[in-house]
Symmetry: C2
Subunit: 268 residues, 2 copies
């Protein structure tokens, strides 16, 4: 299903070479304390999602799919030294939790990209598997994200650097999204669509919900906003896709010929 040219994971930071020990604080791992190439050198797939419990279940599922179950050892949390994120590995598949929201997944992705770089990983595919709210879809539908858009339906992520805003692209690979859609059609186990995913900074007011602690709009205004989103091609709403797309693109996890970043969002 997946094809690519051999490609390393890029960091873009000249300061890293000067570090004796690069500490991945929020993983409780580091180049001085851990042999990252030995631990992670064979990783080819990284699947990330918000909930630590779900990423553990996912690892158990993948182990069964790959017939790599090990009932004796179980799947220890590689990041057991911290409660910030949880990480599991089975064969070439690494599974990492990222908490909720852009800042939380961004911290994880900085350290994940450095981890894959230090481990000399090549040809790595990264997939976000997350929950989301759907617009005009049956619950249970899987949305393969074509493009991540912001709350004004524009495909951009704004990164603040030294107090100045830099705009980054949130494009994902179109042919790969189509490929993934075909996979799902072949499986024929759940409805799958391709569409835009809106990424917000807030779950309640930011997603036009009526049940937060604060709500200053009417049900009609909510519907009007969601209708505009739908007209802009938005199929679902979540809280991490924009920075995920932007950072994966920058790090070479998604490139011209090996564009392999594809969040799947499960409608809730």
């Amino acid at each position: 299903i997946i094809w690519y040219l051999s490609s390393p994971v890029y960091v873009h930071n000249p300061h890293l070479d000067a570090l004796k020990d690069d500490i991945l604080y929020h993983f409780s791992l580091g180049t001085g304390s851990h042999n990252l190439p030995a631990m992670f050198g064979d990783v080819k797939f990284v699947c990330v999602g918000g909930s630590p419990w779900r990423m553990k279940s996912f690892t158990e599922f993948i182990a069964a799919e790959l017939a790599m179950e090990d009932p004796k050892s179980g799947y220890p949390n590689i990041c057991a030294g911290t409660d910030r994120y949880a990480m599991y590995k089975v064969g070439p598949v690494l599974s990492v939790s990222h908490g909720m929201g852009i800042p939380s997944i961004a911290i994880m992705l900085h350290e994940l990209i450095k981890l894959l770089h230090h481990a000399h990983c090549t040809d790595v595919t990264i997939i976000r598997i997350g929950t989301s709210g759907g617009i005009g879809l049956e619950p249970g539908t899987v949305v393969v994200t074509k493009q991540s858009v912001d709350a004004t339906f524009l495909p951009k992520f704004e990164q603040v650097i030294l107090g100045k805003t830099v705009v980054r692209s949130t494009d994902l690979d179109q042919s790969l999204a189509q490929e993934l859609l075909q996979c799902s059609k072949g499986l024929n186990q759940f409805e799958t669509v391709i569409g835009n995913t809106m990424c917000t900074l807030d779950f309640y007011e930011g997603q036009a919900r009526l049940d937060g602690a604060f709500c200053s709009y009417t049900e009609a205004e909510k519907q009007e906003y969601l209708l505009k989103a739908k007209e802009a091609g938005v199929c679902n709403i979540e809280m991490e896709s924009s920075v995920f797309a932007a950072m994966c693109k920058l790090s070479g996890l998604q490139g011209k010929n090996n564009g392999l970043t594809r969040p799947e969002s499960f409608f809730v």
Copy 2:
């Protein structure tokens, strides 16, 4: 130390009255499934922090301070049905984790404010106890936040509602911050200062760090930015204070005469 007028916790959402069962999704609690007034009606203090492990340790510390230890029952996680947040209670003190970043703490605060409202709590003081990076301070110094400022050193929080940006105030109560400083002087166990806290959306590029996966600035540019922050009164940098201040103010957890919101940030 703390004085106030009797004051309820306010929600500002006319839609909530129409809900038969208000589900606090990310706490795995709800008005239909739980007797919130019985469980939480006596809460007078809420202490929040990023890490679930730390909030459990804090609860054990407070139990000892209040001589309310219960070695038999321990301190069960009230949100054991979910892995999104952890919550502990001892006497009138509720302790809740909020993960990392503005979106993550905002989800928690929406549901916490509704919880306190449904439980008919009054005169509630909420304190954020978090780690932060200090500017020109000895490690270990405690910063009592006077005002939370953004990456351009302005005291505001931008909330996006239906695609439009609304600016909210991040003021905290000045007299209370002074009171807290005096408390610390009385204890004389660690250095404590009052100052502004900068709240960013990112830990690496957003806080001028040199050790992320991406870094496009020099060490000199980093120092220049941090110097400007210091000149604007910024003592430390973290990732949750702005929305914490804004939401506490809106909900009446901080008011004119009972302004009791005061994040303490531990310099790391």
